[in-house]
């Protein structure tokens, strides 16, 4: 927490070197997470870049007492991704959607578990990704998703159960029985 506070103070003082460190440490993870939400690599990178740019331009929203800096970053990223979806949904029907059919283009989609994972709802995908792959704590997940810790617990359980159901489903073809 102390490191986060120090880093944040440097960012607020417009220290480009500090922000570059912050970017290098988190850009890859954030981009991977955003891929789970927006469904394709290019859009995820765009949203990731917008997220860092927003923080760099207006470094005034992080409160160390409420969570980690990474949690704050992922929370901003999640909101930007939600905006991305809203804009995408406003596209006229006749206009080809730029990323149509790419929702399953996630890091895990080429594997058996990935097939099942790709069938989850976006919210469950992003929650499981943050927990299983990125190792975020319940408190960090609560900060990112802006929900109580108890809700994190119940939603994680629901997501796991849904993934398990699909994964074990014979028609999914995602898992061969052992």
């Amino acid at each position: 927490m102390a490191d986060d506070h120090e880093l944040w103070e440097r960012i607020r003082e417009r220290d480009a070197n500090a922000f570059e460190v912050f970017y290098r440490d988190n850009a890859g993870r954030l981009c991977a997470y955003l891929r789970q939400i927006v469904g394709n690599t290019q859009a995820a990178e765009d949203v990731m870049q917008e997220t860092f740019t927003q923080i760099w331009k207006s470094p005034n929203g992080f409160r160390p007492e409420l969570g980690s800096l990474r949690g704050y970053l992922f929370g901003i990223g999640r909101k930007r991704a939600a905006e991305w979806w809203r804009k995408r949904e406003r596209l006229p029907e006749e206009q080809p959607r730029e990323h149509e059919g790419e929702v399953a283009d996630s890091a895990a989609s080429s594997s058996a578990i990935g097939d099942a994972f790709a069938r989850l709802q976006e919210e469950q995908r992003s929650l499981l990704w943050l927990r299983e792959v990125q190792g975020q704590s319940y408190a960090e997940l609560a900060a990112i998703l802006q929900i109580p810790v108890g809700t994190v617990k119940s939603r994680l359980f629901a997501a796991r159960e849904e993934l398990r159901r699909i994964w074990r489903s014979p028609r999914s073809g995602a898992r061969s029985e052992k």
Binding site: R14, A16, E45, K57, S111, I113, W129, K153
Partner: protein
């Protein structure tokens, strides 16, 4: 307790969260719950394995840099640190005005009464030309300088803020004039701060709404006036300049040059406005070479369109895409000509440079610049 009641706790247990003894007791006797726990572990492991297989993605260059004048800040800081503008040949350049710790500007600034920024105006005796430079008076030592060529010689002036007492401010001013007859090269102009070395500084008190007469040897008397502003103006070096470029004007203000997604230079507050004798602007970037921009065709210059309200120039060189974005519209023309000399570097200059150039004499300039 049954499996339905314990299921959510299995998920929490898998995450290392504390669970009740009652749940632990149930798990020890329940095959179904243990199978659930094993499935969670297996799913998690496979998910991480799948993710790691796709984890070789390289981190792209951060676009956040484009939203920040960090390069310019460093550029100015570098100048401040060395207190020297590197020797460089300015080809028939009208002006290159540098603020060592202040701003340069082009748009007319609004006076702010008792603001902390002093905008100095230096009016020369020949014609109605004047140059401005801005000083902060609230943060200790500050200085600014300007250089004028295509006069009956070259004039360089530096101004240093010493102290402020109520309505008046004490300044230290150095001037250096080189008559045309004494100039070694008529086709180039050189400006560096060390040209002030050995020149004694004259101290003056500038009173509010009064003017100073500063004698310049072999040149005449420069009239200095001041105006307090409430902020450091973004473009302060030419109050007569407007946002819209003049009919035949071509200018580069606060340029940012981007190649693909990489920012090569961000020269916030720098500017080049060629006069009637020049017809182009050159931008030198260490390790990237020299870029020439002109509203008229010139040797090996590629014609490109001016985009988006004429403050962007997009061009291709050596198979790479470049985008020049400036702080104000560049020209009213719809096309400009661009040339990149990637291997051209002045032998005695390591820094960034922005200045005017006569593109019809470009070959001569390139051959003769040291």
């Amino acid at each position: 307790m049954n499996c339905a009641e314990a299921a959510e706790c299995v998920s929490a247990l898998f995450d290392g969260e504390p669970i009740s003894r009652e749940v632990v007791a149930h798990l020890s006797d329940c095959k179904e719950c243990r199978a659930r726990l094993n499935d969670y572990a297996e799913m998690g492991a496979e998910l991480r394995e799948a993710a790691s297989g796709a984890g070789a993605q390289t981190i792209p260059e951060g676009r956040w840099r484009l939203a920040e004048p960090a390069a310019a800040t460093n550029w100015l800081r570098k100048w401040r640190g060395t207190m020297r503008i590197p020797r460089f040949a300015f080809a028939l350049m009208l002006i290159a005005i540098f603020a060592l710790s202040g701003g340069l500007a082009l748009v007319k600034a609004r006076p702010g009464g008792n603001g902390p920024v002093l905008l100095l105006s230096f009016k020369i005796p020949q014609g109605d030309k004047a140059w401005d430079c801005a000083l902060r008076t609230d943060r200790g030592p500050d200085s600014c300088a300007f250089f004028g060529a295509n006069l009956p010689g070259e004039l360089a002036v530096s101004a240093r803020f010493i102290r402020r007492e109520g309505e008046r401010v004490q300044l230290g001013i150095k001037t250096n004039f080189t008559p045309a007859a004494a100039m070694q090269r008529q086709y180039t102009h050189t400006f560096e701060l060390k040209m002030f070395d050995g020149i004694s500084e004259q101290e003056y008190w500038l009173e509010r709404e009064e003017k100073l007469n500063v004698p310049v040897a072999q040149f005449g008397t420069v009239e200095v006036s001041g105006e307090y502003l409430d902020h450091m103006p973004v473009m302060a070096s030419n109050p007569r300049e407007t946002l819209d470029p003049g009919k035949a004007e071509f200018r580069i203000l606060s340029p940012v040059l981007i190649r693909d997604h990489q920012m090569l230079v961000n020269m916030a507050r720098a500017m080049a406005i060629p006069d009637e004798k020049d017809n182009g602007v050159m931008l030198h970037i260490p390790r990237e070479g020299l870029f020439i921009f002109s509203p008229v065709p010139f040797e090996e210059g590629a014609e490109v369109a001016v985009r988006h309200g004429s403050n962007q120039i997009e061009f291709t060189a050596e198979g790479k895409s470049y985008l020049l974005v400036t702080g104000a519209p560049i020209t009213r023309a719809e096309h400009v000509w661009v040339r990149h000399l990637p291997d051209w570097h002045p032998s005695n200059n390591q820094g960034w440079f922005l200045g005017g150039v006569n593109v019809q004499r470009l070959r001569e300039f390139l051959e003769k610049v040291p």
